[in-house]
């Protein structure tokens, strides 16, 4: 026996849109004009004449109060994941047939209750996921899917397939060219399709037509493409006696590492990342995502990485829960060349970086990478272990600028449109020469990002050459040359 769980208007349900709302979904990032057509329409909007495939203007002509939403693929993935998790609570044998549809193989389950009741129980479970769920039950997987499409909210089909006759062909067929041909033939429903001679279907539509014909008749016995849980390399421990210092924690973690590394070895994998989670007695948590510079399953190396990462951790309560997960990767297939320049011990380097990050804070350790912007100091910090981006050819020449971080606020004294004195750090310095102004500006198209700089290079009588920058009407000394 099979059960199919179907979430109609899946794209809309993922956006948590209520069925009574007048809403429609568009592709989030349409590349061409013809892509900007409605993907999915709520039932209420459909009643007002809005149909998937319309442009948003056509839809708003029919339904002026239509809410237009953009597709959220992440939300769809989450909803799909929740759907599968709910299915898993019923049986380990289930198939993710398509987004918003899964089929459960219940043959291994002992069935005491009538199918309809079982369906109702499933529906009660599934309604926690989404506002609209339909459950179909039948003794074949594809038939269960069709049953779900005629369910309200549960439908059991044992023998009589009459109810399926009126189902539209769009339920089974997603090939637009074939659908168009069927439309030309006047074949809109499963009943009309199954009435066509099978041999003639084969002549005209080939294997695809035959498969469709079988499906329309309720499908053949088939094996589900079962979803198998991904093997997790994870150890957790609820501690009876809370831990208060690093040493016993490390002892516990080394034990976990030993077991996890043994499992890694069985799976021919090495550790790419370590995910460490600690929960404290006061319910606060500490989580770390530690990248392994050179993936390995060497327990000692991994242990050192953990130890370094925990060095700076301070907590106001003892640890009551520990979880350690290894994200496995395949071991490097090739060995570095004889003349390749690289780090002698990347993991040790990573440990050092980790220690520095513990000291300075997250995102404050790495390599500065220039951004392709006219803003002179536009950069981002990237992890040392990431491959560097191709260098940008806009590095200004001239003497090096020793930047003040943060820049020092300044005031300028002007004469004949040129600065003659610099007031900075409560000190006034006469300027003996100044070159400029230079102007730089960018991101003018966005009021939240627009910037504009006026720049002068000015020399003081003590021989120092400063870079002065004005932004938002305020002057600052950005650095000193040389």
């Amino acid at each position: 026996m099979f059960a199919a769980w179907w979430l109609p208007r899946f794209v809309l349900q993922a956006l948590r849109v209520l069925s009574r709302e007048r809403a429609a979904v568009l592709e989030a990032q349409a590349l061409k004009a013809e892509d900007a057509r409605l993907l999915c329409v709520s039932e209420t909007a459909e009643r007002e004449g809005v149909q998937a495939g319309m442009t948003s203007s056509q839809a708003q002509a029919r339904c002026p109060r239509l809410r237009l939403l953009y597709r959220d693929e992440k939300a769809e993935q989450e909803l799909q994941q929740r759907l599968l998790m709910a299915a898993e609570s019923w049986t380990p044998d289930y198939e993710a047939t398509q987004p918003g549809l899964c089929v459960l193989d219940l043959s291994r389950r002992r069935m005491n209750e009538p199918w309809q009741d079982l369906g109702m129980l499933m529906h009660r479970d599934a309604t926690a996921l989404a506002t609209e769920v339909r459950i179909g039950l039948a003794d074949k997987a594809d038939l269960a899917v069709l049953a779900a499409h005629v369910a309200d909210p549960v439908r059991v089909i044992r023998d009589g397939k009459e109810a399926l006759r009126e189902l539209p062909m769009t339920v089974l067929c997603r090939n637009p060219e074939l659908l168009n041909l069927l439309h030309l033939w006047g074949v809109r429903t499963l009943g009309q399709f199954t009435a066509l001679p099978r041999a003639e279907i084969a002549r005209r539509l080939g294997a695809e037509g035959l498969a469709l014909h079988d499906l329309a008749r309720g499908g053949k016995e088939r094996l589900l493409r079962l979803v198998r849980p991904i093997q997790l390399f994870r150890e957790e421990s609820e501690l009876e006696s809370p831990i208060e210092c690093v040493e016993p924690l490390m002892h516990l973690l080394r034990g976990m590492l030993g077991r996890l590394c043994a499992r890694l070895a069985e799976a021919w994998r090495v550790a790419g990342r370590l995910l460490l989670a600690l929960r404290f007695d006061d319910r606060s948590t500490h989580e770390r995502d530690l990248r392994i510079a050179e993936p390995t399953r060497d327990e000692a190396v991994l242990g050192r990485v953990l130890e370094t990462a925990l060095e700076g951790v301070k907590a106001s309560a003892p640890i009551v829960f520990v979880s350690l997960e290894i994200v496995p990767v395949r071991a490097a297939a090739s060995q570095a060349g004889l003349f390749d320049q690289g780090l002698r011990d990347p993991n040790r380097f990573a440990e050092t970086l980790s220690a520095l990050e513990a000291l300075l804070g997250k995102g404050r350790v790495g390599r500065a990478e220039l951004l392709p912007s006219r803003r002179v100091d536009a950069f981002r910090v990237v992890n040392f272990l990431e491959a560097p981006a191709p260098s940008l050819d806009h590095t200004p020449g001239g003497p090096p600028l020793q930047r003040f971080r943060p820049p020092r606020p300044a005031r300028l004294v002007w004469q004949d449109w040129r600065p003659v004195a610099l007031h900075v750090d409560r000190e006034t310095k006469p300027l003996i020469s100044a070159s400029g102004p230079w102007f730089l500006s960018g991101e003018w198209w966005d009021t939240q990002q627009a910037w504009q700089h006026e720049i002068w290079d000015a020399a003081t009588d003590d021989g120092a050459l400063y870079r002065l920058v004005r932004e938002h009407e305020a002057w600052r000394v950005e650095g000193r040359y040389g």
Binding site: R203, R374, S441, W444
Partner: protein, 1025 residues
């Protein structure tokens, strides 16, 4: 002499490499106190004519030049010193453009060596020759090609940090190569705010967004035009670089006013001059046209020939005469339009078909003594292949490079500006689309405010990119986007057009275009012959052909102009399909106008135009015509001029004559007054012309009150202006088409369907109209249909294979050829011998074109999908009956519309009628009383929102009985804008208004009328302002 002249400026005619129009650049240069400006657009002189014109207006000197993209990829700015230099530049650009794909021109160094004379070269900016490897070698090469004294090393300062390093490098190079420096700001826009648009253009050019464009965007807004003082401040340490600009300016001898253009002379027989041969041809033609040359005719011809000879236009008339003669010899209908019809010479030469003497037309409207510009002769030709034959013949005669089409500058308008600016700002595609959809079809005057339109499109008011979008939209609006070709304007030249203006390949194979549009050409005195395609000419030509073949020949020249049946049809406004008087507005006027003679058709053609409507001329004319107000000719002396238009000056000729009568103006003075009246001329010019008129009237002691009325009347005339001769030419075609509709109906409808798209209505509406006139239309059939729609008998026509959408010309041809060999045995035989593509098979079956082979549409659709096996047994086994049901009436309708965009079966509304018993038939509206509340439902065939209607909208709904018109007040239009513009079927409820024989529904509510079966049924509605 200025201290500094900008010699390397680009305009938006550098296409995405400049952000201001040439006019704006010149205006800004004038504001900055410059006396010269060199415009050096990329790979062309596209903007030079406009810059020249504007500079002349502002008292500046526009210097010609351009940036040449070299084969190595570097870009060389060159400046024209002499006419020879200009000719060289044009030839060099022509060669480069003609041998490359559109927009990919590259000049070879070898070509540069040939054509360098008369040009000065600069080293350019960041794309210039110094950015290449081995800059010294490049400089040596330039010296060798142009001569040392004509090469300048260009330096810029754009207030970017470290730019002095580059300046120093340039100085060192100049010093090493012993070349002078020249300062330039290499401006890309007139004012600093132009930087925004330039950045947007840069992103567009690189097919990216502003966010992603990164370092390709400008560092600041300094690439604008700068004054001498600003440049002096920037180059205070290099004054010689500023002085060099003056050295170059002093060396320039050439301006576009000295183009050296000559119109081709006609190759006259020995012993003849251009003038004598024109006189001979005119005399021969006049004898044919007039039969008897009366003294009046002789006097007029002599007067015209004398003036033509005096102005040196004889060659031009002969060339046009020869084109017309060639067209006629080749069986192509041709007719001159426009003011040429005022000329008895043109009439005698067969160029026009209107006798100006009989019609009392004023020759001075066409040509007058004081006129220096070329007269305008436009030729109407049947659209399509016939016109193309004439164009190709002109190319052939003036080859090589003696003839080309004028360009058509496509500019950024509302939709395109929003689409492209929205794209670079990375706005959602659906927002951009909704913005476009809110334009309400067509580019009629737009009533929605930009910010409101953007809000309705879905961009919230507080969006951080909204201010930039609005700014960019305004900046881009009206700037050139790309160059197309004019629909029919050809320029001709005797000594090689490629020395006058660069030529480029058009997108259309076999066509070459010049880099200027028709106004630019006219401003520079280059003559244009318009070879315009008229769908109606093609339809008339085909009607005549078929009528002759059926033994019912028609001689257009001999059509009786007083046919009562024709006037009856016009008075009933039964004019769907005829020329000019078929539009909604024309049809609304015809019952009030009630044309009774040919001249009424002339007035009808002229009066329903934006000008007379805005000038409030329509109602006085109709009121006077219907005796509701007295006829008043303003002044007794005007009676001979205005009597035929009941005292309302409708035509340009009338204004000219009024001025000649009341103010003793000469023909050329009157023509000058008319030109000043043209709406696009300046207020100042108009006031000056009217002052002159008033002064002359005062001298003649005309009553001040009368003077005032005359001036007022002429002022309101300024809003329109339509030559009577043009109206007569069009009325001839309109009358001919009415005559054919009445007396050769079946041939006429067949021709109209064969010439689609043309005219005001879609094929579906023409078919509905034909049926109402008792014509039976038979569907497309592979057994009997010809390629074109064909006439079966006086009341029956068969749709042709050309009506099928999605079936190729080759397949049409194959069907005809194979069928002529052996008739089809059955469907399989047809499929085997014709081998139509899969999609074509489906279209044929769906349209019912295979029904005659023993099938209904569905069974044919079933049968064509089965594979064909060419084995020995094929043909022996009969196919099983198809298991598919026949199509319902709704399905057949849907199929008809999707395959032929029309149906010969019942109208969609006829099928729906049982569902809508309360809705009134279109035809029944004429029988209902004024003021009755009615509901009309139908297919939208026209949405009009003319600029003259203050935002109100006219909608025409078609049902199975005819067309119902609705008037939608502007507030209701705004409320239901999207419903009106997006829905193919509408339900309108309102109050019936009947007056003077016209019926309209004043709309109160408008809703979409929808049902599943109409989902795929719609016609292309005719929407414009």
């Amino acid at each position: 002499m200025d201290e500094f002249t900008e010699l390397h400026a680009r305009s938006a005619f550098s296409f995405l490499r400049g952000a201001s129009s040439p006019e704006e650049m010149v205006t800004r240069a004038a504001e900055l106190g410059m006396s010269c400006l060199a415009l050096t657009d990329r790979d062309g002189v596209y903007g030079s004519a406009r810059a020249h014109h504007k500079a002349k207006e502002l008292g500046l000197r526009a210097i010609a030049g351009c940036e040449l993209t070299m084969e190595c990829g570097c870009v060389l700015p060159v400046i024209v010193r002499t006419r020879r230099g200009y000719q060289n530049l044009c030839q060099m650009l022509t060669q480069a453009h003609l041998k490359a794909a559109k927009g990919q021109s590259r000049v070879s160094w070898a070509a540069l060596e040939i054509y360098a004379e008369g040009l000065t070269v600069l080293t350019g900016d960041e794309d210039g020759v110094l950015s290449q490897n081995e800059p010294l070698e490049a400089l040596d090469r330039l010296k060798r090609v142009f001569g040392r004294e004509h090469v300048f090393v260009e330096i810029h300062r754009h207030r970017v940090p470290r730019e002095n390093d580059r300046v120093r490098r340039c100085c060192d190079l100049a010093s090493a190569a012993k070349l002078p420096l020249i300062a330039s700001n290499a401006p890309l826009y007139a004012r600093p705010e132009g930087r925004m648009l330039q950045d947007a253009f840069t992103a567009l050019r690189h097919h990216t967004t502003l966010d992603e464009a990164g370092l390709r965007l400008a560092p600041n807004s300094e690439r604008c035009l700068k004054s001498a003082a600003q440049m002096r401040e920037l180059f205070h340490d290099l004054p010689e670089a500023l002085a060099s600009t003056q050295r170059i300016v002093e060396s320039i001898e050439f301006g576009l006013e000295n183009l050296g253009y000559e119109f081709p002379q006609y190759p006259v027989p020995p012993g003849h001059s251009q003038d004598s041969f024109l006189r001979e041809r005119t005399d021969i033609g006049a004898r044919e046209r007039y039969r008897e040359i009366t003294p009046e005719v002789r006097h007029q011809l002599d007067h015209e020939l004398r003036l033509i000879a005096k102005l040196g236009f004889s060659g031009y008339f002969l060339v046009v005469w020869d084109i017309v003669r060639w067209a006629k010899q080749n069986g192509i209908l041709v007719q001159g339009r426009g003011s040429a019809a005022n000329s008895a010479v043109c009439y005698s030469l067969g160029i026009t078909n209107v006798d100006p003497i009989k019609q009392q037309l004023l020759f001075e409207r066409f040509l007058s003594e004081g006129r220096s510009s070329w007269p305008d002769i436009d030729l109407d030709l049947p659209s399509g292949t016939q016109r193309e034959r004439v164009i190709q013949e002109v190319y052939r005669r003036f080859a090589p490079h003696g003839a080309a089409m004028t360009a058509n500058v496509i500019t950024y308008r509302g939709r395109s500006a929003m689409r492209e600016m929205g794209k670079v700002l990375h706005l959602p595609q659906d927002v951009i689309e909704r913005f476009s959809d809110l334009y309400a079809n067509g580019d009629f005057p737009h009533t929605l405010q930009l910010d409101e339109q953007i809000r309705r499109a879905g961009l919230p008011q507080g969006h951080p990119r909204l201010p930039a979008l609005i700014k960019l939209y305004h900046l881009a609006y009206g700037l050139p986007r790309h160059l197309g070709q004019h629909s029919g304007g050809m320029v001709l030249c005797s000594a090689g057009l490629d020395k006058i203006v660069p030529l480029e390949p058009a997108s259309m194979p076999g066509r070459v275009v010049v880099q200027w549009d028709k106004d630019d050409c006219e401003d520079l005195g280059i003559i244009k012959v318009d070879l315009l395609g008229l769908g109606m000419m093609a339809a008339i030509e085909k009607t005549l052909e078929v009528s002759a073949a059926r033994g019912r020949p028609v001689d257009l020249a001999q059509l009786p102009k007083d046919d009562p049946a024709c006037f009856d049809l016009m008075q009933r406004a039964d004019t769907v399909g005829v020329f000019q008087i078929e539009s909604r507005a024309q049809m609304a006027t015809l019952p009030r106008m009630k044309p009774k003679c040919f001249y009424d058709v002339v007035v009808e053609v002229a009066i329903i135009r934006p000008g007379p409507i805005v000038g409030k001329m329509v109602h006085p004319y109709l009121n006077r015509r219907n005796g509701k107000e007295p006829i008043d000719c303003i002044h007794l002396d005007f009676e001979p001029v205005l009597a035929r238009t009941l005292g309302v000056p409708l035509f340009q000729e009338q204004v000219l004559k009024m001025a000649m009568i009341i103010a003793d103006f000469t023909g050329s003075e009157a023509e000058e007054l008319r030109r000043a009246m043209s709406f696009h001329r300046s207020e100042e010019r108009m006031t000056k012309a009217l002052d002159k008129l008033t002064a002359a009237m005062t001298r003649k002691r005309v009553d001040p009150a009368i003077q005032d009325r005359i001036v007022k009347s002429i002022r309101s005339f300024a809003l329109y202006g339509f030559p009577e001769s043009h109206a007569i030419s069009f009325a001839l075609l309109a009358y001919a088409s009415v005559w054919l509709k009445v007396h050769r109906a079946v041939e006429f409808y067949a021709a109209l369907l064969n010439c689609q798209p043309m005219g005001f209505y879609s094929s579906a509406t023409l078919v509905r109209d034909a049926k109402q006139h008792g014509i039976r239309l038979l569907p497309v059939c592979v057994v009997v249909s010809q390629i074109e729609c064909s006439v079966i008998d006086d009341t029956t026509l068969r749709l042709g294979l050309n009506q099928l959408k999605g079936v190729s010309h080759a397949t049409w041809q194959k069907i005809i050829t194979e069928r002529q060999t052996t008739p089809w045995r059955d469907l399989r035989d047809f499929l085997r011998r014709c081998s139509p593509a899969k999609d074509e098979r489906r279209v044929l079956a769906q349209a019912g074109a295979l029904n005659a082979l023993g099938h209904h549409r569905r069974s044919a659709l079933w049968e064509i999908e089965a594979p064909l096996h060419d084995d020995l047994l094929s043909g022996l086994e009969a196919p099983d009956a198809a298991p598919l049901a026949m199509m319902s009436a709704h399905e057949r309708l849907e199929s008809d519309y999707s395959t032929t965009t029309l149906t010969v079966g019942p109208h969609p509304m006829a099928l729906l009628r049982p569902q809508i018993p309360k809705a009134s038939h279109a035809k029944a509206l004429n029988t209902l009383p004024h003021g009755r509340r009615v509901t009309i439902i139908g297919m939208v065939i026209c949405r009009q929102r003319p600029g003259t209607a203050n935002g109100h909208c006219f909608i025409s709904l078609e049902d199975e009985t005819g067309i119902a018109n609705a008037f939608v007040p502007s507030d209701l239009f705004e409320k239901r804008r999207l419903t009106i513009t997006q829905e193919p079927f509408l339900k309108i409820t309102g109050q019936l208004q009947r007056a003077d024989g016209t019926t309209t529904v004043l709309a109160k509510t408008i809703t979409a009328f929808r049902y599943d079966e109409t989902r795929r049924v719609s016609v292309k509605s005719h929407d414009f302002g």
